[in-house]
Subunit: 397 residues, 2 copies
């Protein structure tokens, strides 16, 4: 239901901590990464608070980062769509204009047969990737179109095109697995033929520029998108929202929703430093921790557990700030066994004076399933956070 | 989904016991009122039956009594709205006609500075309130409008206006807390300017009539509303429904849905007496117990526990009547810590020959969360009751 007629403002503060890719998949050998992580601080919040399981988009649906976050912010991800290109542009502060098309690029490794051998070019470090992106910017041109390359982090970059007749309905070129060639950019609508040709030319010229690179010698494109407008989070909920995220894409989605974007911080500790420094300036803080997802995507169970434990260690500093409500959850699952996002549910805890209590004493999927928040779509979380912060008036007489 | 094509009639009997404001909020010191109450009879029904948690209107939404009950009766409370004025009029048997406007009035206490010091005039007893309402009826007149005052219980009354050009879109004058003056009746739509003026004149004259009263010297108005039509419960479900409630508003909502309204009973024991007396005359009985909500709104945890225990003590008498299905739940939560309605989920139990069983042995929020009915919107309960009573045919071939 539309909450806006019920929204009231007060001086409460809400912190939403998102561990990217938090959800896991227990199997015969192991619990989920969260279940097996040592998380005394999160467990304490779970014991003192209420818990549940969230389904980000729908049953069986594996969400991308955009839908996963939109849902957490209370935007139905089947109603509001975001391409990765739009997100990347927003995250980098790139001035994407109406008519432009943007896509997420990955530097990748391609062998002599033309097959992709590493979709992420060995997660090439920033200092080696940056000069390559500059060479692409210098060396790649397409007739009648302005092409822009911007580095994000590691192998990730933004590619944006400005020119007449560009339509974003072009299929991804990332084949999603190795041992096969990149896909051709294919128009998903006749109106996008021109854009498909421009993308093909871009990829071909990029391969020429990178031809002698040992690792990062190819370019994959996905998430072709144009500029979108989203309803303001601040207006929807009567909140002053702020976002703190190391990675550009998450700053991007926050910027699109009208959050004040703080930082960027260098790492998790700096993320919490920024939270403390700007504590007086907002009343809703989105705190993003990317590492569990990155480790999960690498299939590295131990690294994902360690990333969760690093976040746990920062919880006392967040709690000391005295939020009215603190919620901890993820945008989707990234089980290390799958080395990819998945549809599995994501645990959530809500902690505050009015949250009530359930019998759940530990933070983890198998315990949260019996918690007092139940099993529900992620998009319902925002209403619960507002209610816990005393920001929703009574409905009906 | 629309159940009506599936509805079949039989000689089963369903009893729906509603403990108003049943839901609570556990905290570091206590369980919820229900968890901590001694309820051997409800626990036995829970152990022999199935349990779950209900969310009355939606996540984070704090329901008024109208939406809370509509949902339990299977009416989507975001589709069917009821003002308190309509409910009060129906409960009192007041003949509200098309074009009339009705509001809930509260006698209140106002100090020398014009600030509200008690929004409920010390919950003034009936025998002291009744003569004051009569004085209002004698002493308050507004040009061109017929104003009616009817006492409900304690500080509560119905105020109804009949005359040309009255539009109910007027904001409440109840400021919802003390230490501030009553709000001015404000038109929420230009069409309601006249009604706002009529309401202001009514309040001003009421203050003059009550000027020398020590406690009940003011009048607050809320829930301005006009007559509404609701689809008949009897037709929707093929049931002969009857309602037994001490308080007028709950008789009112039942009357609007076409229930036969029995009584009114004086108290809970008389409520169950009426149920027994009229057992042969209906096949769906709505039994309402107001006291847990009243105690919760007063912030009186012990009184709320006692009110729940009083209901528990009546359960054997209800069970002895031999209902096919008995369900026990609440219309919303009223945690004593909040002294107000809240959004927290409400436990439910369903007991009958075909209900199945779960592992829940006690009736209370933290146990019901793991029960066999799951966590679901309150509006889904009616279909489960009909199914348990053998009143829903198979869907599809």
């Amino acid at each position: 239901m539309d909450l806006s007629p019920l929204v009231v403002e007060n001086d409460s503060k809400i912190v939403l901590v998102v561990l990217d890719g938090l959800g896991g998949m227990a199997d015969a050998e192991h619990g989920t990464e969260l279940e097996d992580a040592r998380t005394p601080n999160l467990d304490r919040l779970a014991a003192e608070g209420v818990t549940g399981l969230l389904e980000p988009v729908g049953p069986g649906i594996t969400p991308g980062s955009g839908p996963g976050h939109l849902a957490l912010f209370g935007y139905d991800p089947t109603e509001f769509e975001l391409g990765r290109g739009t997100l990347s542009a927003a995250g980098l502060g790139f001035d994407l204009r109406p008519g432009d098309v943007a896509a997420r690029g990955n530097l990748c490794t391609i062998d002599a047969e033309g097959n992709v051998t590493d979709r992420r070019a060995g997660r090439i470090p920033d200092d080696r990737a940056r000069p390559l992106i500059e060479r692409l910017q210098q060396g790649v041109s397409v007739d009648g179109v302005e092409v822009s390359f911007r580095h994000e982090r590691q192998h990730r970059l933004l590619v944006a095109w400005r020119g007449p007749d560009l339509d974003p309905r072009v299929a991804d070129t990332d084949p999603q697995h190795t041992g096969v060639p990149p896909l051709e950019p294919r128009a998903l609508d006749p109106a996008a033929e021109r854009m498909a040709q421009v993308a093909a030319a871009t990829v071909a010229r990029a391969r020429r520029v990178l031809a002698h690179e040992p690792v990062a010698n190819g370019l994959l494109l996905r998430g072709f998108d144009s500029q979108r407008e989203l309803p303001s989070f601040a207006e929807r909920y009567g909140l002053r929202p702020a976002a703190i995220a190391v990675y550009p894409m998450y700053r991007g989605i926050s910027a699109l929703l009208g959050f004040e974007v703080l930082g960027p911080p260098e790492d998790l500790a700096a993320t919490v430093d920024l939270l403390a420094k700007h504590w007086g300036e907002a009343d809703f803080f989105f705190v993003h921790h990317k590492d569990p997802d990155a480790a999960g995507e690498d299939g590295n169970r131990e690294a994902k557990i360690a990333a969760i434990e690093r976040l746990d260690a920062e919880i006392p500093r967040i709690v000391e700030l005295g939020p009215t409500v603190i919620a901890v959850t993820g945008d989707h699952a990234t089980p290390a066994q799958m080395a990819a996002h998945s549809w599995h549910p994501v645990p959530v805890l809500v902690h505050g004076e009015r949250c009530g209590r359930d019998d759940v004493e530990r933070f983890g999927e198998r315990w949260c399933g019996g918690g007092g928040l139940g099993f529900r779509p992620s998009k319902e979380l925002m209403a619960l956070l507002l209610a816990n912060a005393g920001r929703l008036a009574k409905y009906g007489a």
